[in-house]
């Protein structure tokens, strides 16, 4: 059995985190589970899980190490966590969440507390921004596509920049049609639609997601959170009101050792 594991805290992000996990479980054919790292005595995450009839565990220890250990379990295929505790919380994501994202070599969905279009049903339309590089498209092909159940629509978006804009478009219809067709065939043949935009990459992706009515944004990234890196990911995590599924790809930092006490109980 494969698992989509929701990391619940006591913040406003917990409910949308849990619901996102349930939806991702439905779209990947996995089971949704929840975990909470107890820092103080509260029962909100457990109660949430109980409401959704989701297996729940509580573990102790430093949050980062504990979550790493949980997410790295062999049967976990996707992790889900909150971007921040409150809608006005730390941007783009909380420090703990960012550390976890940088260190887990698995897909992790980041959910803002004010997430929209989140329900417990399987998301049917996913927005997949692609750069047109192997680093961008291979994680989608290798980590996302194999997990999806039939009927999920992928909408690719590509944002042209000065360096990536096509050199020549002979015809406003035929030319772009040919460009779109080859881009999809090369980078995401499972997608039926590609949306082309120009301008600020992060902003255009968020706009495209809204225009497409997508329920989830899927991003490949290098997991490099050093200053000046992952600018697009940061922008989207900061401003998106949709859950963002991050797929690690390209150069990955070495996994940090897990030191937490993994004792806990399962509901």
């Amino acid at each position: 059995m494969t698992i989509v594991l929701a990391a619940l805290d006591s913040s406003a992000a917990a409910r949308p985190v849990l619901d996102t996990a349930i939806g991702l479980a439905a779209v990947t054919g996995a089971a949704a589970h929840a975990v909470h790292v107890r820092e103080n005595a509260t029962t909100t995450p457990e109660a949430l899980a109980a409401q959704r009839n989701i297996p729940f565990r509580e573990v102790s220890g430093p949050v980062h190490e504990a979550l790493l250990s949980e997410f790295r379990a062999d049967d976990v295929i996707v992790g889900v966590l909150g971007a921040r505790g409150t809608p006005t919380g730390r941007r783009p994501v909380g420090r703990t969440a960012m550390r976890v994202l940088a260190d887990v070599a698995k897909p992790v969905a980041v959910v803002p507390p004010d997430a929209v279009r989140v329900s417990t049903t399987a998301p049917r339309r996913l927005l997949v921004p692609l750069e047109g590089t192997a680093e961008s498209s291979e994680p989608v092909a290798q980590q996302l596509v194999p997990l999806l159940v039939p009927g999920v629509e992928l909408v690719v978006v590509h944002v042209f920049t000065t360096s990536t804009a096509p050199t020549m478009i002979d015809h406003p219809d035929w030319g772009l049609e040919a460009w779109r067709s080859e881009f999809l065939a090369r980078h995401c043949p499972e997608a039926a639609v590609i949306d082309l935009r120009t301008g600020s990459v992060g902003g255009r992706i968020i706009e495209a997601a809204a225009d497409a009515g997508a329920q989830l944004i899927v991003l490949s990234w290098s997991q490099d959170v050093s200053p000046g890196r992952a600018a697009v990911v940061r922008t989207i995590l900061e401003h998106s009101t949709l859950p963002v599924l991050l797929l690690p790809g390209g150069h990955r930092p070495a996994e940090a050792p897990v030191e937490a006490d993994l004792s806990g109980r399962r509901r």
């Binding site: 020549m168 002979d170 015809h171 406003p172 090369r186």
Partner: protein, 865 residues
Amino acid sequence: MAGTSHMWREPVPSAPARVGRAPLGRTFDAVVLDLDGTRAADRPAQASALRSRLEALSDAAVHVVALSAAPVDAIDGRLGARPSGRGRLLLGANRGLEVYEVTPTGPVRVEPSPATAWLARRGITGALVLVIGGRLGGPSLLVPGLERAAVVSFDGEADDTVLELLDEQLRRREDRRVPSVDEDPAWVVPLPDDPTRERVAEALGALGNGHVGLRAAWEEGGPASGALFAVNGIYTTEDVARLLEGPVWTRLGLRDGPRGRRTLDLRTGVLHRADGRVRTLRFVSAARPEVLALRAEGPTDRLEAGDPFTATGAAPLERARRGDADLARTVTPGGGGIVVAVRDRTRASGELRTIERIGVWSAHPSRPPGWDHPAGKLAAVEELGFDQLLAEHREAWAERWADAAVSIEGAPDDELAARFAVFHLLNAAPDTGEAAVGARGLTGHAYGGHVFWDADVFVLPALAAIRPGAARAMLEYRVRRLPAARERAARLGLAGARFPWESASDGTDVTPRYGIGLGGERVPIRTGDQEEHIVADVAWAADAYASWTGDQAFLAGEGSGLLIETARWWASRIRLDRDGRGHLYGVMGPDEYHEAVDDNAYTNVMARWNLRRAADLVQARAPDDPEAARWRDLADRLVDGWDPSRGLHEQFAGYWALEPLVAEHIAPPPFAGDVLLGRERVSRSQLIKQPDVVMLHHLVPDDLRPGSLASDVAFYERRTTHGSSLSPAIYAAVLARANRPDRALQLFRLAARLDLDDVTGTTAGGLHLATMGGLWQALAHGFCGLRPRADHLEIDPCLPSAWHALSLRVRFHGRAMGVRAERDAVHVDCHEPVPVRVGGGDVELCAPAGRTFRLDQARPRDEGT
């Protein structure tokens, strides 16, 4: 080129001379044999054994050249061979200086000499030749053109060795082994093997013969494949007509693939695949346009024939059988279809399986083609056999290249790219009937096979010079659609013929009205309504054809409507202002960044040219014709954008007032300005997509102000984003004429690599034929300075510093000729006298076999008068 002296020199073996008796393991199409190294002269038994092999090789379509120091009678007396097959027996007597073909009645002297030239005229070069000799190092075998030949030399008497080598070739023919390819780096294009570029590879390696096109998809298919088999002029009947996808007939059952190396041989028009143990070779016949062929060999545990057909498009594949022939057909509802009939001959010998597939296609534009015709034709074609069909095909390609050869000394990459372009131009149109040449030809789905001005102004001028029959077929397409063009003009309340911007099957306008732009925005497409210049472009193409071919009878007869009816359109379209000046309002020029402009210089000057040219035609037979007089009057009144205060042509009324952006300030060209800046912004700027005023200097230089070339080019080049694949080659042509050949070469190379490097990201959808036509024009009109006149050919070269020489072969007024341009001389070769004017000098007659003209490098450049 004919008349070029040849040097006797050692052939460089492509493999070490054989040691031992192991088979060579390759199939050759010609054997060059040193007779004097055998005992056939002395011993009848040896002569008899050799004779039987030579005659069997002839039956197997293998040519043999037997060389000897002896005179021909002695050689023939020795051998006594009388071959009756497709393969010829040549006797190279007197150390190869005299070449004779052995006919049923005996040896007959043949040209050309040496024998390798004879073979080359049949498409047999280099690695297709096996040289067997006992005295290599002497002059008898030492001829040019054998640099990649396989050479077997032996000491002393080695008749058994010779016979074994010949027997191996006979066995390989009997086993239907895959033929070899002469992998001359100057003529072969390796296809990309990156799976993400599979569709690009398929387009690059597309085969064609003017009637059909076949992309280079792997025989086993695969998820990345965009296989296509299409027929010229066969479209679907959807709302937006597209090329109908025919049955792809190359499918094989191959395991553990796709993998291996695919190469396109430009010289012989075949696609070759090899991955160590599996080899295939395919072609669409240039000699018999309805014939298709494929051979494959491989281990029995990897290769089997399987179902030969693949459906690739929306049209379902209908199937049938006639005896043991497999047939498949695609049809479009209420319209035409394409049918292919194939038969496989499979043979297994030990662990090796060979498959030979011969096919015949048939198509009809307006009704489903029947099954019986191709099935019947298939039986007749099969009797010829694969080897003979391949031999004919190679010979047909050799004939094509004889009229279209390109050579660039000092720049092998440029030369190969130029040959690549010419290859696909030669595949674009048939020599007979009518030819609908779409923007991507038959090499891909993009643009639906729609015919744009790309055909008339970019492709046709090249074919008029190198394959006149194909150019004529392209004009026939337009002639047959004159009625539709007249109807459209009438519906618009105007006279004459209004050719459509995009055309497909019936000549009506098939330009899409809307496209999906950035952000999914529905974008109106106005080219169909506003790019009226195509009316003059069609007329210009007809005149260009006549200029190269001398076929004035076409212009005066069947083609006259292309000039006269188009002139009538302009005459009814021009509006006179109060001052009596003529205007064309609300048009779009080649620069599509600016829509609905007034007095676009390109449109106006081409219209003016059209009116005057039609008046010439009419007044040649009726000097007082009043309509022609009116045309001349309107032409004189039409404004052309010339601004004397600036010494420039203004691209359209109000252009000077636009934001004075230059391209390099936005991004290094090429770039799609409408994508980077947005349509609105770019339309308010002076940035242009492609040559517009500059296009006039290319097409009708005599109709512009003398001396305006350099200033117009300098001004507009900086404002050109080259956001169209049609742009760089034309600039290369014009810059060369403006005496800036090194800058011209930069843009030539951008155009030359456009598809090979997939510069636009759209080559997967098909090759850019207009770019290829533009490339040839850059070579011919730009760097070589060719311009056909009524009674002579202008030659005024301007070579870039990286090129030592440029050689082109063309047909001028029906006469085959070659031009070799060097920095200080021009060599012209011809078989019939041709009047030429070289370097701005006097018109002189170039007599056979040729002449050299010295060039004064300090001569003033002729800017187009």
